[in-house]
Symmetry: C2
C-alpha cells in the first residue's frame, strides 16, 4: 500500500474528536487543506469524511464546510405507550414536534389494510417532524380514518398532544399494537429534511396504534436519522 490510506485519515480525525482536540461545532479544515496535511488526494479525504458522516461524527454541508457534529445520540423507548416526550429519555435536550403538512387522501394500500378500512377509504394524512435541540431527528407520516376522526389534525394542533386529541373522540387510552424497524439508505429528500449527509442511513419505523380492545386507530411511518437514535425496549413496559 505504502500510500496514505483513507482509513488512516478517518482514524486521525476521529481521534481528534474523541480526545477533544476538535469539539462540537468546530469547522474542520477544507478538503484541500486536509489533503495537504495528510499528503493525500482530495478523494481520499472525501472518503474518510463520508465515513465519519455515516457514523454521525461530522456533518458535511455543501457550500459551508465540514463541522464536528453537535447532536448527541437520543434514546427512544419503544413500548406499549407511545407518548413522544415520555419516550425520549431525557438527556438534557429540548424535544419539540412540528406539523409540516396535512391532507385528506385516499388510503394507500398498506394503510387501509393496517386500519382495517376499505381500499381507497378517505384518510387524514399528517406529516410531522421531531426536533431535539432544534436539530431534526425524525419525521413521519401518520394516518387516521377520516370518518372516525374528522378534523383530527386540527384538534391535535389545538389541544397540543395526540393523547388529548384522542380523548376528544372519547378514546381514553391507546396502545402500540405493532412496530417494525428496518434500516435503509436515505433518499435525497430524507437527507435534506433531516439535515444530514446523503450517506447517513435512516431507520424506518412502521407502527400501528390501537385502542385497548385491539381496534386500530392510526398507523404511521417515521424516518429516523440512524446516527442520532438508539431504540430501547423494556420488558416492564412491553
Amino acid at each position: 500500500m505504502t500510500r496514505t490510506s483513507w482509513t488512516q485519515i478517518k482514524d486521525e480525525i476521529a481521534d481528534d474528536i474523541r480526545f477533544r482536540r476538535l469539539v462540537a461545532g468546530d469547522q474542520l479544515p477544507t478538503e484541500p487543506q486536509l489533503a495537504q496535511r495528510f499528503s493525500a488526494g482530495r478523494h481520499s479525504v472525501r472518503k474518510a469524511l463520508e465515513a465519519l458522516a455515516r457514523e454521525g461524527k461530522v456533518s458535511i454541508e455543501q457550500g459551508r464546510g465540514t463541522f464536528v457534529e453537535a447532536a448527541p445520540r437520543l434514546t427512544y423507548q419503544v413500548g406499549k405507550r407511545t407518548r413522544l416526550r415520555r419516550n425520549l429519555i431525557p438527556q438534557g435536550v429540548t424535544v419539540s414536534s412540528e406539523l409540516i403538512s396535512a391532507a385528506r387522501v385516499t388510503a394507500p394500500l398498506r394503510v387501509s389494510k393496517a386500519l382495517l378500512l376499505d381500499p381507497d377509504a378517505p384518510v387524514l394524512e399528517s406529516r410531522r417532524i421531531t426536533l431535539a435541540n432544534d436539530l431534526p431527528v425524525a419525521f413521519g407520516t401518520m394516518y387516521h380514518c377520516a370518518e372516525r376522526f374528522p378534523e383530527f389534525v386540527e384538534r391535535r394542533d389545538v389541544l397540543g398532544s395526540t393523547t388529548e386529541a384522542y380523548r376528544s373522540y372519547g378514546i381514553e387510552d391507546y396502545l402500540r399494537q405493532q412496530t417494525t424497524i428496518h434500516s435503509r439508505s436515505a433518499t435525497q429528500d430524507e437527507a435534506k429534511t433531516l439535515k444530514q449527509h446523503i450517506d447517513v442511513p435512516v431507520l424506518v419505523v412502521n407502527a400501528v396504534d390501537a385502542t385497548p380492545d385491539g381496534t386500530p386507530i392510526s398507523c404511521s411511518r417515521v424516518i429516523w436519522s440512524a446516527a442520532r437514535v438508539t431504540f430501547t425496549m423494556e420488558q416492564s413496559d412491553g
Copy 2:
C-alpha cells in the same frame, strides 16, 4: 448541462433488479463495461454500486465480481421470548446457528453491570453466528456468570438449544428484560464475518435476559447486517 450521474446509473441497475432483468445470483458486467454502457467513468459506476451494496441489492466481491444479492430480508420478532427459530419468521429460509468460540474471561464493565456481578467477575463468553440459507445475517457475543452456569457453553452445544441448557440449571423459563437497537457503520472484521460490503451498516442489538422474577441470567451483543433484517415488535408478545 449534466453528464451521466451516478444516481442514474444506480436507478437503472436497481430497476434491472426490480423488473427481473437481473435476478438473484446474476453477475453484473464489470465496472469498466458498465462505465462504457452508461458513457460514464469508472468512479461514477463504483459510487452507484456502493450505494446498491449499502441497500443490500448487490454484493461486491473483490477479485470475483459484483452479483445480485440472493438474500431476502428476514423478519426478526423482538419480544419477551427470544428463542431463535420461533423469532425468525419463516420465509422459506433455513436458519442455523454455529458456535465460533468460547472462553472464560473477566467480565467487561457493561457485562458485570448488566448481570449484577462484581467488577471483574469471571464470565463465560461465547460467540455464535446465525446463518439463513448459509448466508450470515448476524453474529454475537453472549455472557453468562461462570459461577452460576459452569460449563454453560458445553451444555448449550450438547443439548442443542439455549432453552434446554437453562433447564439443566433448573431454569424453566426466562424472558427478555431489555433490548436496545442502534445503527452504525461496520468495521472491517464485521463486514468480513457477515460476508458483506464494508459500506453496509450494521444494527447493534444489546440485550439482557432474566428469569421471570427479574434476576438477569445473560447479556448479549448481536451484530446484524442492516440490509438483511427487519425487527418487529407485537404488543401481544411485547
